[in-house]
């Protein structure tokens, strides 16, 4: 396992270097920091989503669902819409990036927590119910958002639309630092949960018998998930968190692949493995598309394609098992 992790880390190193250096033109003093910022943003998003997906799959005892698939992404547009609705387009535009980020994160994490708590309550540990409830709640959020958007000024509506699309273009240094702090804290706390998560994997009764009642661990993990996905989304837009719009399948692909490459029940292995693979997928994918193929196809499209296929395979395998 250790060797495999080292290998993936090596691949990641190569991808990151290539991303920074391939096709360098123009003044280095400008291009390198620009690329560096984007690289850091990609890495942050990858880390946040990978760890959040691992946690989410463990506490919901399934291998198919991700926070993004469960409607988290729809929240992003809702929060934006509410902000534009409340402040007007000009008031919204006047917000400083850190303020915007903070409000965004607070809204996303807060609502996300409510969403997931409701989800887990309604699903009662039943995977099919979880899936259905997630879809229904996602639809509800989207409908509420549409309703709100009807109510706002068409000009303001344009603002929401332009912001709802993923963007890895301009990265604000301050935002990056704040997001890194938030994601870093989330990952560190998730790492501390690793042994308890292993126990949780044994099932509710066994975990309780070993002194780890699931309810408390569920709450802690949900908080971390919301913090991490919220930060990534607030930093980079919905590409980070997906939903059925942009990249819903990123976390799914990454964690499924991590389970394949490093088959283990230990979160002490699975978490780093997912983190590394997530970064390879996002950075490597961006590298191939943007630098090597010079394609304008957004990475999302590719991830969605692979992700959709992975989702189906996992679903079918589960039915067969």
């Amino acid at each position: 396992m250790g060797r495999r992790l080292a290998l993936i880390a090596g691949v990641l190193g190569v991808c990151a270097c290539a991303y920074m250096l391939v096709g360098l033109t123009g003044p280095l003093g400008f291009v390198l920091p620009y690329r560096g910022g984007k690289l850091a943003a990609l890495a942050l998003v990858a880390v946040a989503l990978s760890v959040a997906t691992v946690l989410f799959q463990t506490i919901t005892a399934n291998r198919i669902l991700t926070p993004s698939l469960m409607g988290f992404d729809a929240l992003y547009v809702l929060v934006l819409t509410v902000m534009v609705q409340a402040l007007g387009a000009s008031g919204f535009a006047a917000l400083s990036p850190p303020t915007l980020f903070a409000v965004n994160l607070a809204g996303l994490a807060g609502l996300g927590l409510v969403l997931f708590v409701v989800l887990m309550r309604l699903a009662k540990g039943d995977m099919v119910r979880l899936c259905l409830t997630g879809v229904v709640l996602g639809l509800l959020i989207r409908s509420a958002t549409h309703l709100l958007q009807r109510l706002i000024d068409p000009g303001d509506y344009q603002v929401v639309q332009s912001l709802s699309v993923a963007r890895f273009t301009q990265v604000d240094g301050t935002l990056l630092a704040i997001a890194a702090a938030a994601v870093g804290a989330g990952v560190a706390l998730a790492w501390r949960l690793r042994h308890r998560l292993d126990v949780l994997d044994l099932g509710e009764a066994a975990a309780t018998g070993l002194g780890e009642p699931p309810a408390r661990l569920h709450r802690q993990a949900l908080l971390l998930i919301c913090l991490m996905v919220g930060s990534a989304t607030a930093l980079a837009g919905p590409m980070a968190s997906g939903g059925f719009g942009p990249s819903s399948f990123f976390g799914l692909v990454v964690v499924a692949f991590a389970r394949l490459v490093t088959p283990t029940h230990r979160h002490a292995v699975l978490i780093p493995s997912a983190v590394l693979i997530g970064a390879v997928v996002l950075i490597g994918g961006q590298l191939v598309l943007e630098r090597l193929l010079s394609l304008s196809t957004p990475l999302i499209v590719v991830i969605e394609l692979i992700g959709g296929a992975t989702f189906l395979i996992l679903l079918l395998k589960r039915r067969a098992a």
Partner: protein, 250 residues
Amino acid sequence: MIRIEGLHHQIAGAEVLRGIDLTLPEGGVTALIGPNGAGKSTLLSLIARLIRVQRGRIEIGGHVVGQTRDRDLARVVAVLAQGAHVSARLRVAELVGFGRYPWHLGRPGAADHAAVDAALERFDLTGLRHRFLDELSGGQRQRAFVAMAFAQDTPYLLLDEPLNNLDIAAARDLMTLVRGLADEAGRTVVIVLHDINYATAFADRLVVLKQGQVVAQGAPGEVVSAPLLADVFGTAARVEQIDGRPVVLV
């Protein structure tokens, strides 16, 4: 000692346990018997705090269930739930290793590894230690789960129908091991059994549950009789004395 006072429990509005008062002394094997739906699993789960006590009081080894920290209780009582299975893909030694979790909280030391080895040895799983659970027979898997509860090294051990799906040889072997846990390792074992003949053969005490109430308890010879079976299970089975203990003829 396990002391239960005035225990009532409702599930979905239905009264599942109706005023249980029960004291189980330290040591020995107590078998919980009764018809399907009598409340045996509910009672065991309540003692093991797998479900929350609604009304009444349960004390185990001096700890009041519901008022003791979960981690502390995990060092007092180990439980094997009915139909236990794990979805994670684990090897036998890893599963048994989880029994040590309350002691090492994720960082096993030499003592923990030794305890796992001892548990594997005692349950005759040493040769299977690297097998995945889904590569075992039902009986071997059941043994692995009991070994995990054993490795938890608690004075109290609660087992819910560990003989499910076992053939006669596997069932007798497992019961002999359980008997040994009480006799040699000094554990207090409470075990839910369906086959009354296993209960009379291996347990020191029987507690008979019917519709959420204790209707009889005591040594197997005092408890098991044809009238009791007729009353509790509603079936007319003959009971004969063989070698000084009651045997149900089915």
